[in-house]
Symmetry: C2
């Protein structure tokens, strides 16, 4: 359900360009749960934002479902993403002047859909944020803000969920609950789940773990156990 063909991403910075992705080819089957690990600076966030259509590769192709994102106009990619892609950002990217509930509902609001109030309440409870729906992001702890970002990525029941280090700010038992939620939601709605993580315990929830270093995939682990 997610396919990258020879994806290269470079940045102009400095005397020589920075090669963040060095010709990456990868296929993630529909409904699979894949984890991506690698050193800080190895290209994980770049890989995820290119795969999700949030960033445009310098060259190469990105196909989600059967739609070639690299062939669409920026507006068309944005419309496609709103309906089919959920994304948990490494920096959360919450909207400061919107409440927790408004932040979570945002993908549906932008798509012009009325959110199901029962589903919204179920999601907030599942990420442990019941009672915090009227707070502003500035009134939350780091891990609470991270969980708002996770709920927001799931609210539109997208076909593919991309998560950039979604347990980075969470203690062990909260992280565990979140990983179980991501996996069970993916099963329930037949979603493909691509998770970037530094946490081996998070990677152990996946069917497969891929290793990224210097902008290229190196090895993989099938059915990992910790």
């Amino acid at each position: 359900a997610v396919r990258l063909e020879q994806v290269v991403k470079t940045y102009p910075g400095g005397p020589t360009p920075v090669v963040a992705l060095d010709g990456v080819s990868l296929t993630v089957p529909a409904g699979a749960f894949v984890a991506v690990m690698g050193p800080s600076g190895s290209g994980k966030s770049t890989f995820l934002t290119c795969a999700a259509g949030l960033d445009r590769p310098t060259s190469g192709r990105v196909v989600v479902g059967d739609v070639d994102l690299t062939a669409l106009s920026p507006d068309a990619v944005t419309r496609f993403r709103r309906e089919h892609v959920g994304f948990v950002f490494q920096g959360y990217n919450l909207i400061g002047h919107l409440t927790v509930a408004e932040n979570v509902r945002l993908p549906l609001t932008l798509a012009g859909t009325r959110p199901d109030e029962a589903w919204l309440r179920e999601l907030l409870a599942a990420v442990g944020l019941e009672g915090l729906s009227e707070r502003l992001p500035g009134e939350l702890s780091g891990g609470q803000a991270q969980r708002v970002a996770i709920a927001r990525a799931l609210v539109a029941r997208p076909d593919v969920v991309f998560a950039d280090e979604p347990t980075g700010a969470l203690d062990g038992s909260t992280a565990d609950a979140i990983l179980r939620l991501l996996r069970s939601t993916a099963h329930r709605f037949g979603q493909t789940l691509v998770l970037v993580t530094h946490d081996p315990r998070a990677a152990a929830f996946a069917d497969q773990v891929l290793f990224l270093a210097d902008g290229r995939f190196r090895g993989q682990l099938v059915d990992p156990t910790v």
Copy 2:
């Protein structure tokens, strides 16, 4: 070197106030390395910002070195902090239009001191960011930005270093290097080090681990091993 006496911190939000710290008393001896763990939302960041003078308690006393921060004016606290306190923020708080080098030097620039160029280069190399000194924060990976925040907290060789989840965005081996750096720098300059973390491996570097839950310290572990 850091003492809290009956520190309470509440926020007005909602029908009842939110009690983030519920009467915390604690003494961290000079030169000690203490880790604080606890669930998301338990008050760790609030504890750290109050202890460092970045936030004012609702009631209670905070003493760093032999200075009562709660008795000083906001300007006096700011001047004290610049010379004596290093702080790694959970959200890094880098200045977007300053380069990596300018961000790291910032505490010295604000204190009107000329930074030692050799020391700056040594710090950047020690956190693995050599070659990135002219980049802007927006051109860094999450873990690279976190390491800029760490270098900045150390540059003024403060008496006390407070770090809020400083390895949250780092892979295992980079995290290890950073923890060794924090510990060795603390020994070298006789610093007190208070580290908030979700990572048991980070906590294992400390002399002592304290557990926070619902705004109160519950238990502790002396000389932890993982």
